[in-house]
């Protein structure tokens, strides 16, 4: 599903060059639930950003679902992200002026789905994430865990090939974190959803099928 070869990401900090990723190569199969872990500054979020097409690697190749993504233009990448990838971020990142349901179906609407179809798909997902009775609530009326569930539902609305999650439990308490991780496990098991998640919490490890450890921009194991 994802094939990354010799990924290198170098940041120019004034006159100093900082290599965040040093020739990283990974292969993630369809249906895998993979964690990227490592200490702070190890390059795990940087790797996720490259794999998720949110940033451009300095060099290297990323092939997703058979497509060489490095050659895509900005617009093509946006379109690719819309149709083939889903995202869950650390800070929920849902629009405060939209209800839970509207936040969920926004990407479907952007993809050109009709209003009825958008609402139907949104309602299916809001039920899956356990917020059926909160569909018309604004984010300000939802807890952090509930907002993150909305973000997960939004990430799934266009049936993505891969779901990327960047420390999705960082702002949640343990109970909420558990429920989010269990939801990921359920999605992975029931829908064969490929999930790539960044985390630094050791206790999360038990939910992963495979863990990629990074240290100083290199895969440690």
């Amino acid at each position: 599903m994802i094939e990354a070869n010799n990924l290198r990401k170098t940041y120019q900090m004034g006159s100093v060059k900082l290599d965040a990723l040093k020739d990283v190569s990974i292969d993630i199969k369809k249906g895998e639930f993979v964690f990227i872990m490592g200490p702070s500054g190890s390059g795990k979020s940087t790797l996720l950003h490259q794999l998720a097409l949110l940033d451009e690697p300095t060099s290297g190749k990323i092939i997703i679902d058979g497509i060489d993504t490095v050659t895509l233009s900005d617009n093509e990448k946006t379109n690719f992200r819309l149709h083939k990838l889903g995202y869950v971020f650390q800070e929920y990142a849902i629009l405060k002026e939209l209800t839970a349901l509207e936040n969920i179906f926004l990407p479907a609407m952007t993809a050109g789905k009709g209003n009825a179809q958008c609402k139907k798909r949104g309602k299916e997902l809001i039920e899956i994430v356990g917020l059926k009775n909160r569909s018309n609530h604004l984010p300000s009326e939802l807890s952090g865990g509930q907002q993150q569930r909305v973000a997960i539902a939004r990430a799934l609305v266009n049936k993505p090939k891969i779901l990327f999650a960047d420390e999705p439990c960082a702002n949640l308490d343990t109970e909420s974190s558990k429920s989010i991780l269990e939801l990921f496990v359920k999605l992975n098991a029931e829908s064969n959803q490929t999930i790539v998640m960044v985390t630094h919490e050791e206790w999360h490890k038990k939910y992963a099928q495979r863990i990629i450890y990074l240290r100083d921009g290199i895969i440690e194991k």
Binding site: H49, A52, L54, D55, N75, T78, N79, R81, L82, H83, L85, G86, Y87, F89, E91, A93, L95, K96, E97, L98, E102, L106, P107, M109, T110, A111, G112, L138, R154, A155, N158
Partner: protein
């Protein structure tokens, strides 16, 4: 494209409906003020310009003025020319005038004034002089020893500058006039007129039969004024006069009397319009820019999840257009249903008459289009700046 607009409108509506109500209301209020700022003063200036030109027609010159060719003091064969002009179907009336400078004496006061000789009946068919009598009566065909005096010279009927008058003449009083050729004549004041057009209200009028008594001939004119049956037909009529070759200078009286003031008003209106549009575009730009900067992170996120930049930019433009359109609607309602009726009921008193707002639909449409275009620019620029940022950097901000 259609879908991008659909999503952008969806987002913009929710942003306006569920965003900060105070910001929305204040922005619409400022846009309303911008609209009024853009239209109110120009409407007053247009009202002044219109009234000034209208008064030039009604109180002084009619629609078309004929004057001697450059270098001549008098019009050649004026009565014959008058007959020729009267033969045109579109002509309502033609009046011959001859004006001379003279000194007017009343009691212990004296003033230098222009005395205009007219045929009272002909003059009545061109200007509103006969209807402007506020005391006494208008001249008749036979009056030669009676005079009409404007209220500004008479010093009665609320003159603007009483010190520049004869200090309070009433009908029945006598004035003495000393002409430039040395002839001195005494006239009984038959009537006092007030056209409310200050330039006209300084004049004194005598029957042109009196010309013979003073200058030895009555076929003298230095101005021919013409009233047409239909408004805004001056240029066509002037073309006809030029075509028959009358041998004198012909003017559209509105242009001649109001050209300078129209040009000044035009410049003022343009400056005011530029300032008003700059104020509105800056206001919108600041509102949208602050909003966009505050949303840098969420904009990056929605771009990350696949909402393309065009949708985000369109959404900001729709918000800007909404603020602008709301300001325009409220501003125009205030203008048409509050300010215009108020100023019709309570006009400004100006030296050329009572002035109220004059709203020209063409001007309103042009300015509102300009406002909408600037609203689009004010929405586009900040949104474009924020959406072109790097997604990861913006999410970390």
């Amino acid at each position: 494209m259609f879908n991008d607009i659909r999503v952008a409108i969806f987002m913009a509506i929710r942003e306006i409906k569920r965003g900060n109500k105070g910001t929305v209301l204040v922005t619409i209020f400022i846009m309303t003020l911008a609209v009024l700022n853009l239209l109110f003063m120009p409407c007053i200036l247009d009202g002044m310009d219109y009234k000034n030109k209208l008064q030039v027609v009604d109180a002084k010159f009619g629609h078309v003025v004929i004057e001697p060719k450059e270098g001549n003091a008098l019009i050649q064969n004026p009565q014959s020319l008058q007959k020729k002009i009267n033969a045109f179907n579109e002509v309502e009336g033609v009046s011959l005038q001859y004006s001379v400078g003279a000194t007017v004496y009343y009691k212990d006061k004296s003033l230098g004034r222009s005395i205009t000789f007219i045929n009272p009946i002909d003059e009545g068919s061109v200007t509103t002089l006969a209807e402007s009598i506020v005391e006494g009566a208008y001249l008749t065909k036979l009056d030669t020893d009676e005079i009409l005096i404007g209220s500004e010279s008479a010093g009665t009927h609320k003159p603007i500058d009483i010190s520049n008058s004869l200090g309070g003449i009433a009908t029945g009083d006598y004035v003495e006039i000393k002409y430039n050729n040395g002839v001195i004549r005494k006239y009984r004041v038959k009537g006092i007129y007030k056209t409310k057009y200050i330039n006209a209200d300084y004049s004194l009028f005598l029957n042109n039969k009196e010309l013979e008594n003073i200058f030895g001939t009555k076929d003298m004119a230095d101005t021919i004024t013409i009233r047409l049956k239909k408004e805004n037909t001056e240029y066509d009529f002037i073309k006809k006069l030029t075509y028959i070759g009358i041998g004198e200078d012909v003017f559209n009286s509105r242009d001649r009397a109001g050209l300078e003031i129209s040009q000044i008003f035009g410049v003022i209106k343009m400056i005011l319009a530029i300032i008003a549009i700059l104020v509105s575009v800056t206001t919108l730009f600041i509102v949208i820019y602050i909003d966009a900067i505050n949303k840098r992170k969420i904009i990056a996120v929605i771009n990350a999840i696949g909402v393309n930049r065009k949708i985000i930019i369109y959404s900001f433009i729709f918000q800007s257009v909404f603020y602008s359109a709301s300001g325009i609607i409220i501003g125009l309602l205030i203008l048409y249903y509050l300010l215009v009726p108020y100023f019709i009921a309570n006009p400004f008193m100006m030296p050329f008459g009572e002035v109220s707002l004059m709203v020209e639909t063409g001007v309103v449409i042009n300015r509102m289009i300009a406002l909408m275009v600037t609203a689009i620019i004010a929405g586009f620029v900040p949104a474009y700046q924020v959406t072109k940022q790097n997604i990861v950097e913006a999410m970390r901000s």
